[in-house]
Symmetry: C2
Subunit: 390 residues, 2 copies
C-alpha cells in the first residue's frame, strides 16, 4: 500500500450531478456500502464471507447526487471495535502529523486520507469516538451527528443504539458544506447564548494539553455572556464510561456474535479479547446501565436546550506512540471513552476542532450541542473559526 496506507481500495465513482459538492473528492470508511464492492470492516474473514453491496448506502448516494466524487474506501480497525487505528491485516494508516504516533480509530484511514490531503473529506462511523478521536489525533475537524439523525442504512453495525456516520475535513467550510447536504434543518433558536465547561472532563486532560487548549477555551468563553463551570456527571465519568462499555458490548455481541461463532475469524489480540469480553455480558443484567443512559439523555437535553454549548477536550492528550503496551492502551482507552461517552450516551452532536498542538502534535477541543442542533453547531463553528485559526 502507498499513500500513507489510508486506502483499502482506490475507486473513481463519478458524481451523478453538478451540485454544491462538485469538485470535492471524498473517501468512505470500509464499512459503508459502495455498489458492487464488498466492505471488509477491516477483517479479511468478513470480506470473504460477505457479498458485494447491491446499492450505495443512502449517505454515500446523497453525496454523489450532490456532486462529490468518491475516490476510495479506507482502512478501519477490525469491526470498528477499537480507538487506536492499528490493523494487523491491512496495516496501520500513517498519521501524517507524526509518523511515530497512532492515527486513532476506528476511522483511521478516513482521518489519514484527509490529513494527508488525498481527499477533501471522508466519511467515518462513530460509536465510541471513532470519528472524533482520529480527527483529534490527525489535527482535523471531525463531526459526530445527533444519534438517529442521519441514516445508518448500508453501514456495518457495531452497536446500533450508539452508531452514527460522521465526517472529517481540514477546514470548517467543507465540514459545514457536507453537513448542509446530509443534515436536515430542525433547529429554531437564532444563536447559542450559553457556554458550559465540564470540570470532570477537563480534569482528564493532561497538563500540557490543558495549557495548550486554555487560551482558545478562554477566547471562546469570552464570546458568551452566560458562562458556567459545571459537573455533568453526578455519578462520575468513570461510571458513565463503564455503563457505555457495557451497553455497547451487549449490542456488539448481538450484532456480531453469531458471525464470530460461525466463522471463527482471525482477529488481532486486543480485538479478540474485547469480543471475548462482550460475549460474557448479559442484557438482562444491564437495567442499571440502561436507566443511567436515559437519565443522562434527559439531563443533558435539559442542560443544553437549543441555546447551550458544552466544551470538553476531545482526547486526554496527544496521540500515543504506535505499538503501545497493553496497559498503556487500556489506560488511554478508558480515559478517552470517559470523554467520548458524554455525547455517546446522550446521543448528542459533537464537533472536534484542531485548535492547538503540543510540541507539533495536534490535540482537539470539542463542542457539544443539544439534540438535532447539528447544522447550527456547524454554522457556529464556521462563523467563529477566526477564534482559533491564526
Amino acid at each position: 500500500m502507498k499513500d500513507y496506507n489510508a486506502f483499502v481500495e482506490e475507486l473513481n465513482v463519478e458524481p451523478f450531478a453538478k451540485e454544491s459538492l462538485s469538485g470535492l473528492r471524498f473517501a468512505v470508511k470500509d464499512v459503508l456500502d459502495v455498489k458492487g464492492i464488498t466492505a471488509s470492516a477491516g477483517n479479511p474473514d468478513w470480506l470473504r464471507t460477505h457479498s458485494p453491496a447491491k446499492s450505495h448506502a443512502p449517505v454515500v448516494q446523497r453525496l454523489l447526487e450532490n456532486g462529490a466524487t468518491l475516490v476510495g474506501t479506507t482502512i478501519t480497525d477490525e469491526l470498528m471495535y477499537s480507538l487506536n487505528g492499528e490493523n494487523i491485516h491491512y496495516g496501520t494508516p500513517v498519521n501524517p502529523k507524526d509518523h511515530q504516533r497512532i492515527p486513532g480509530g476506528s476511522s483511521s484511514g478516513s482521518a489519514v486520507a484527509v490529513a494527508a490531503k488525498l481527499v477533501d473529506f471522508a466519511l467515518g462511523t462513530d460509536t465510541a469516538g471513532s470519528v472524533r478521536i482520529p480527527a483529534a489525533y490527525c489535527g482535523l475537524y471531525g463531526f459526530r451527528p445527533t444519534h438517529n439523525f442521519l441514516s445508518i442504512e448500508g453501514v456495518i453495525p457495531l452497536a446500533p443504539s450508539f452508531d452514527t456516520v460522521g465526517w472529517m475535513t481540514c477546514d470548517t467550510k467543507t465540514l459545514l458544506k457536507v453537513g448542509e447536504v446530509l443534515l436536515q434543518e430542525e433547529s429554531s433558536a437564532q444563536a447559542f447564548t450559553r457556554v458550559m465547561v465540564d470540570k470532570d472532563a477537563w480534569a482528564l486532560a493532561d497538563e500540557e494539553s490543558k495549557q495548550a487548549l486554555s487560551p482558545v477555551l478562554t477566547t471562546i468563553e469570552n464570546c458568551f455572556t452566560q458562562r458556567e463551570s459545571i459537573e455533568i456527571a453526578d455519578e462520575g465519568l468513570v461510571t458513565w464510561m463503564n455503563a457505555f462499555r457495557t451497553l455497547q458490548g451487549i449490542e456488539v455481541w448481538k450484532s456480531h456474535g453469531e458471525w464470530i461463532e460461525t466463522v471463527k475469524p482471525h482477529f488481532g489480540p486486543d480485538i479478540a479479547a474485547r469480543f471475548e469480553w462482550a460475549s460474557t455480558l448479559k442484557e438482562d443484567e444491564s437495567a442499571t446501565e440502561q436507566q443511567l443512559k436515559e437519565r443522562i439523555q434527559n439531563r443533558l437535553e435539559k442542560l443544553l436546550g437549543d441555546d447551550g454549548l458544552l466544551i470538553i477536550p476531545t482526547v486526554p492528550g496527544k496521540a500515543p506512540l504506535v505499538n503501545m503496551s497493553g496497559e498503556e492502551i487500556e489506560k488511554r482507552r478508558s480515559e478517552t471513552i470517559q470523554l467520548s461517552s458524554i455525547a455517546g450516551l446522550a446521543g448528542l452532536p459533537q464537533v472536534t476542532i484542531p485548535v492547538a498542538d503540543v510540541e507539533g502534535v495536534p490535540i482537539g477541543l470539542s463542542v457539544i450541542a443539544g439534540p438535532k442542533q447539528d447544522l447550527r453547531l456547524l454554522r457556529w463553528m464556521d462563523q467563529h473559526c477566526d477564534l482559533w485559526e491564526k
Copy 2:
C-alpha cells in the same frame, strides 16, 4: 503472511466421513468454491466484487466426503492468466526448493503448500500448464486430467475448452489415492505397451535438463518392447503454441472481458498486457486454429490409443529466478507453452514426475496418456516409481 506465503486463508473444514483420504490435509487454489468464502482469483477487485460461495465445488465436496480435511485456500496468479507464480497483490509464494526462484503458476500457492509439506495434497487448476509447471518447479508430482473428465463446476473459469482441475503431491501413493476418489474408471486395456518420445519437445529442453533427465528416460523406455521416437507436430510446436494462445485468449476474454470493462480492476503489468491482447482477438478469425485443434485431438488419440504413453520434458529447464526481465519471461512462457499445449490442445491426461534436479533445482519429466486413461496412467506411475525414486 507466513508459511512460505502459500495461503490466502487458513481454514479448518472437517471431513464429512472417515474414508480413504482420512488423515490427509489439503488446500485448494483460491479459485475453487469453498462454502461461505469468496474466492479472490488472486485479485482484490475480484474478491470485492463477488459473493461468497453457497456450496463447495463438487470436487472439494467429494474430497471432504472421502475423509480429507481442508486447511486453506492458496495464492494464485491473477485470474490464473500467468505461469510464473508471482502476484503483486498477495505476494509471491516462496519456492521451498530454492527461495531465489519462482514457484511457477498459476497454482503457485498450492504447489508451495505441498512442497513445504504444509499439506498432503493441494488442488490447482490447469489450463495452459498451471498445475504441471509449478509442480515441476517445486519438485512435485502433478496431475492434469483428461479435459471434461472431472467437474469444473464451482471453479472460476479461464478458458473452459482447456480448463481442468488437477492436484499435486510429494509422492505417487497420494497422487493415485486422490485420483481414485475423483476419477471415474473408464479404461479397458491391461497395460501400456508402447512408449513414444517426441523429438521436438525434447529439443526445447536446455542441455543441463536433457542430461539430467536422460538416464530416467532411458530406464523408462527400457520397460517397453515397443519404443518410438516421433515428431507429433507436423506444423511445428510453435504453430501449436500460437494456436493454443489464440484459442485460449478468445475464451479468456469471453470469460472475463465484461467484468474487466465494468470493474476496471488493478492488474500487475504483465497480466494487464495479456488481457489487453486477449481483448483484440476475434473468434470469427480463428477457424484455422480451431481446425488445427481438432486435427491434433484426432491425431494424438489415434497415436496413443489406450496402450501408448508419450514422454516429454515438463518444462524447458529449472525455475527462473524471481523478477525476470520482460524478455526472459516471454521467452520462457513461449517455450513452456509449446510443451504444455500438447496435452492442452489434445485434452489429454498428463502427469509430471520429479525425476531429477539440476544443481539441486528440480525439473520434471512428463508422461501423457490417451483420453480417459487417467487412473491407469496414475497406477502405472505408482507401480513404476522405483525407476526414478532412489
